[in-house]
Symmetry: C2
């Protein structure tokens, strides 16, 4: 069992990872000093709710003596909405949830964000525990960002609201479809680029193209999560340092939207990482060989590395919206080495277009 | 001009009160180090929005060089909802509001709570300034509680989210109808009972039954706000000490609900203060003479002091709901002297009924 600790202005929290977290979820809640009269609402989605480990997790909480209810929402991003939140608050009330009670987010990033937002706002804030069940959630469950989408865009309503704990069952990841697995690996590789050259080299030497044993996965994910933790501790409210986490995401997010979410988040980030490494090379911030290593390690994990055949102006328009202001220059987080990222605030649309178009041609 | 300071875990803020705040609102924003490229959205209601001082306030912000938009919602408690919030977020987006921009809540408690909730959640939280325009808001604008109602009950969704400043124009209170004025005075008197005997004695000697000159009002409201500030600084998240603010509210809130809001909040609190003082006497916590002083000072302000002719069991049922748990004993904040309050956790329904019924008989 690995335990990391996250320092947060509004309360520190542990990140526990091993292959047996969910079957001992009740014991973990006890270890977190959760009083026995606490009511526990598990929020999950209809897919995860049907998996055996979900039943095991709920049973474990009940066996520890807590009163539980389980609320399921439809699987998928459309559940991350004020409308779905509005249907859940009354169910918390009906179950008698008070400010001293607890929500458990059992699922991937959508569930963590939605359940966390509900926890942040129900009765002005109650405790919640992240119990991630996807590889991508090794990223989203840490750092305290919670929220829902508006029809106008993603994550536009939310809060910085740290969980009481992240309890991560690595054996639950064995259920992930192959494509979800590699999507998650894009963020693991991103964390290597941001702050852990050893992790990056390990994935170069031995690509993790499917879910290994929990014992093999534990040190890898712990290393990736440690990178994220170091960044969010330095800048909890995303004033500056946290921007390094956007590496691959400025272009990636626009490409993901342009694909109408036919590309998975990790797939789009993979393309974004490759393009932004090329942009860093064009700016003289990164050597070509390192950019090539980034491209190869992503490709070796089965991730796409070339931009989709698309109209550059449409992609650029989405970056403009994403940046939420009318400035003519964009801010990018760009790799300067494996293990180091710079924030560059004066990127012009024209220079990104050159990189984008050249990558399109190279992919022919 | 009086300036108080509130210490908060997530940022200290000043409380400025005088008779010229709104005409200098732009200057105040400059003094708060608000950069000149900040976009300012003023959220107000349709009643306040039509008053001359609202136009003056907006003009002052524009004169200081800020880009502004003004959003009006219907006046009244029904605007404090997720549905209304959902209509405002897109307007913030359309105006180009970023995380560094600012919301000004111009109005009473409903506007402060709604605009504060939107500020707490839009883009995971942007700054907001409370610009209260009612007497009741001397209470609600301090302490960082923001939120909206659900159909199931009041203030069930929200956050603890302190404003960047409270900018309180006391001359704006001159527009208040007589009944709104005395409703606000109930909370001023409450603050005297909680922590300022001099304030209480001043209101005994010279009841403030209508809005005086700002110069007269300033020391009185500053004293009342200081009581609130001291309590919320000691217990920002309402873990314990903040419960003293509930004096008059446990019974008051139930009576307010039972009247279907025909009684104003301050009127219901007035009745609650009188009944809870009698309860304190019955428990031997307060002498009869002090309870009588509380009753007289409220009556001298034109506030009701006798419970409405109602079925006690219906009132009791609402207290049970309000306390949000099935415990057979209730917690009350009870006065023990002018200037002191005790939290009493073992109050039985039966003993409150005795007080309630006797007060009904006395009122015959």
């Amino acid at each position: 069992m690995s335990t990391l600790h996250v320092k947060s202005k509004t309360g520190d929290y542990p990140v526990v990872a091993d292959g047996h977290v969910l079957e001992k979820l009740g014991e973990h809640l006890v270890a977190l000093n959760t009083p026995k009269d606490t009511r526990v609402t598990i929020i999950t989605d209809e897919t995860v709710g049907q998996l055996p480990f979900a039943k095991t997790a709920i049973q474990s909480i009940e066996d520890a003596g807590y009163r539980t209810q389980c609320l399921e929402v439809p699987a998928g991003d459309q559940s991350k909405s004020l409308a779905v939140a509005s249907t859940l608050y009354p169910k918390l009330l009906a179950f008698g949830m008070r400010r001293s009670d607890l929500i458990v987010a059992l699922g991937g990033g959508v569930i963590g964000d939605l359940a966390g937002f509900i926890a942040a706002t129900y009765l002005r804030g109650i405790a919640f525990v992240q119990a991630p069940t996807t590889l991508l959630a090794h990223d989203s469950s840490i750092g305290g960002k919670v929220g829902v989408n508006l029809p106008e865009g993603k994550n536009l309503v939310g809060a910085f609201y740290p969980p009481r704990a992240v309890l991560y069952d690595l054996s639950a990841l064995a259920h992930l479809p192959a494509r979800q697995w590699i999507n998650g690996m894009a963020e693991v590789i991103k964390h290597g680029i941001i702050g852990n050259p050893q992790l990056f080299e390990q994935l170069e030497a031995q690509p993790l193209t499917s879910c290994p044993d929990a014992a093999v996965l534990e040190p890898i994910l712990t290393a990736a999560m440690k990178v994220k933790i170091d960044v969010v501790e330095a800048d909890e409210r995303e004033a500056s340092r946290r921007q390094v986490l956007n590496i691959g995401h400025t272009l990636g997010h626009a490409i993901e939207q342009r694909s109408h979410y036919q590309l998975g988040h990790g797939e789009a980030v993979s393309i974004g990482l490759v393009l932004e490494a090329k942009l860093a090379v064009a700016r003289g911030l990164l050597d070509e060989q390192t950019a090539r290593r980034i491209e190869v390690v992503l490709a070796n994990h089965g991730l796409p590395t070339a931009p989709p055949r698309d109209d550059w102006n449409e992609v650029a328009a989405l970056i403009d919206v994403d940046k939420k202001h009318g400035s003519t220059l964009w801010t990018f987080a760009l790799p300067t080495a494996i293990g180091d990222v710079a924030i560059v605030k004066d990127v012009s649309k024209a220079e990104v277009e050159v990189v984008y178009q050249r990558a399109l041609e190279e992919a022919e």
